[in-house]
């Protein structure tokens, strides 16, 4: 019951503070501009339809990367203050003595933020795909799965920022979450390099970073479903040349890894709960 109240409050706050409006307007501008850019591809001199397809597929991955970045930054910026600023401002002092559990406040906020992230990922993803399809008649093989993974990336980072927010000031928690996000990205690059050159130390570091911060793993999951099969086959044939390319994935995410990501979110939420419950206000 109170979980839904807190979730509703979180969404209401985002909308009242014009966050949703600002995001919607900016995203629309981005989608219009990128679609226009895509629409220029087939009009270039002497370009073949096959070349348009390759270029469009590459650009789609880049655009997805931009959206995943926006989502990661946005999720962090919104989640890092969520508990911390309520404590700083004293809003929490007024709310928590009510018959509501701290866990309900936390899960409610998580739910509200998760809904916002999922909605944003879905709407912006679908619109962008429609724009690309309109401009080039190209559609990646599994856009829905890719969009889901990009959204999940945002939710993972939001959950991490929420945990930090139970103990750290908004700025501190936000910076730490973003640093971890980029460390995870580098860790992912290290993993592919280690795999190409079969260096077990680097592989271990890369695997460790993917397990600890699953954002880059999800990003690679998203890439895989944006790659046309012929393109994938050609890239795999190229072998070592592809090593360390953060915009390429040669295999889908294994099921155990997906299960781990779900468990990771759950574990971080439990930790956040434990940390918040113990905090003196």
């Amino acid at each position: 019951m109170h979980v839904l109240t807190m979730a509703r409050l979180t969404i209401l706050e985002a909308s009242r503070r014009k966050l949703l409006l600002a995001l919607a307007l900016l995203t629309l501008v981005v989608i219009v501009l990128t679609s226009w850019g895509f629409s220029r591809l087939p009009t270039m001199n002497g370009v073949t339809p096959a070349e348009v397809r390759v270029a469009a597929s590459q650009l789609t991955i880049l655009v997805a990367f931009m959206f995943s970045g926006v989502l990661a930054l946005g999720a962090t910026l919104v989640a890092a203050p969520s508990i911390a600023s309520d404590i700083e401002s004293g809003i929490a002092l007024a709310i928590l003595p009510r018959p509501i559990r701290r866990s309900e406040v936390l899960i409610g906020k998580w739910l509200g933020l998760a809904v916002l992230i999922a909605l944003y990922a879905a709407l912006s993803g679908v619109l962008e795909m429609v724009g690309i399809w309109w401009a080039t008649a190209y559609l990646p093989p599994s856009p829905a799965v890719a969009i889901t993974f990009v959204g999940a990336e945002g939710i993972v980072l939001m959950t991490l920022a929420l945990l930090l927010s139970t103990r750290l000031a908004p700025m501190t928690g936000g910076v730490i979450a973003l640093v971890l996000f980029f460390v995870g990205w580098i860790g992912g690059i290290a993993l592919t390099i280690g795999q190409t050159f079969q260096n077990s130390t680097i592989i271990n570091i890369g695997v460790g970073s993917r397990l600890l911060i699953p954002t880059d793993g999800l990003w690679h999951g998203a890439i895989f479903y944006l790659e046309p099969s012929d393109f994938l086959a050609a890239a795999q044939a190229a072998g070592r040349v592809r090593a360390g390319n953060p915009f390429f994935a040669d295999s889908p995410l294994p099921l155990p890894y997906l299960v781990w990501i779900a468990a990771w979110i759950l574990i971080v939420l439990v930790l956040a709960n434990w940390s918040f419950a113990r905090r003196d206000l």
């Binding site: 109170h2 401002s89 002092l93």
Partner: protein, 308 residues
């Protein structure tokens, strides 16, 4: 006292203590607040008043000791329905309207939805914000926020209201209003726990009080118990030789301000005797003012005794 006895009390604590690292915010607090009584918790800044209230409403966890609120151990979820709390330093969601803040709290308190509207209107009227219900809280002054906070604390007719420095941001009119609200609460059987460093406030509304300093209670009881029976008397005298002055010390704690002599701890029956003694010593008496000791005097005295 056992938990069973605590049921008949609004608040009961037993050796309640709280440390923040090395800082002892509260040490060994034992006290009882009865139902339908206005209880003052009086102490200088940093005495541990806010800490005590935070422990009672479950915002912080005690380091030692026990506490019951309305008969249940602190933090009990169901009991919190019957509590109202005004924090000391707080802000509400600036993006909400005052009425929305109130309805959020109605919802969190579990009040039946049908009653919210009347509840909100009455809370706004009580704290003098009827005109501002549809305004966003971000435009409120600190004093208006405090009024709103008081309104929030009154929602749903709680059985115990804990007010942490409720008048700190209020003008004299606001202070007067708060005293009126506290009296109304008492009349309808609500117990009030009032944290304050303002002696006049406590003096005017409280049935009983505890004086706290550096985390411990240094006096507790009704106002007259704390003030003691002995009053003081101020006398304006001229022509009294130094030896005479010395002799007068037998009449009580003498404060010598030249023409004005203040005798503390002197019962009223001995005042005529004192005056004739002054005259015997060669003094000329111009004025005799019996003075009841104020809470302020007693408070400062208690703090001094603590230091001594």
């Amino acid at each position: 006292m056992e938990a069973a006895d605590a049921a008949s009390l609004a608040v009961h604590t037993q050796d309640l203590a709280k440390r923040y690292g090395k800082t002892v915010a509260l040490s060994g607090l034992t006290m009882s607040v009865r139902r339908a009584e206005v209880f003052g918790f009086l102490g200088p800044n940093g005495a541990g008043k806010t800490t005590a209230v935070k422990l009672l409403v479950g915002l912080a966890r005690s380091s030692a000791g026990q506490a019951w609120v309305l008969g249940a151990p602190v933090g009990d979820l169901k009991t919190r329905r019957r509590l109202g709390y005004l924090p000391e330093l707080f802000r509400y969601q600036g993006w909400m309207k005052a009425s929305e803040v109130l309805s959020l709290h109605c919802e969190l308190a579990g009040l039946p939805r049908a009653g919210w509207k009347a509840e909100i209107a009455s809370a706004l009227a009580t704290v003098g914000l009827s005109e501002r219900g549809d305004d966003r809280v971000e435009g409120f002054s600190k004093g208006m926020q405090q009024r709103l906070g008081l309104g929030v604390a009154l929602l749903g007719r709680p059985e115990l209201v804990l007010l942490d420095e409720p008048t700190s941001a209020l003008d004299p009119v606001g202070r007067h209003d708060v005293r009126e609200i506290i009296r109304q609460l008492k009349d309808r059987g609500t117990a009030v726990f009032l944290n304050s460093h303002l002696l006049s406030e406590v003096e005017q509304v409280c049935d009983r009080l505890a004086v706290v300093d550096r985390g411990r209670v240094i006096a507790t009881g009704t106002m007259s118990q704390i003030l003691g029976q002995d009053g003081a008397v101020r006398v304006r005298v001229t022509g009294l030789p130094p030896a005479g002055r010395a002799a007068l010390r037998a009449y009580g704690n003498l404060e010598d301000e030249g023409q004005w002599l203040t005798f503390r701890g002197l019962s009223q029956e001995r005042v005529p005797e004192l005056v004739s003694e002054i005259v015997n010593q060669g003094g000329r008496v111009y004025a005799v003012e019996p003075r009841h000791e104020t809470l302020e005097d007693r408070f400062l005295q208690l703090l001094k005794e603590q230091d001594g």
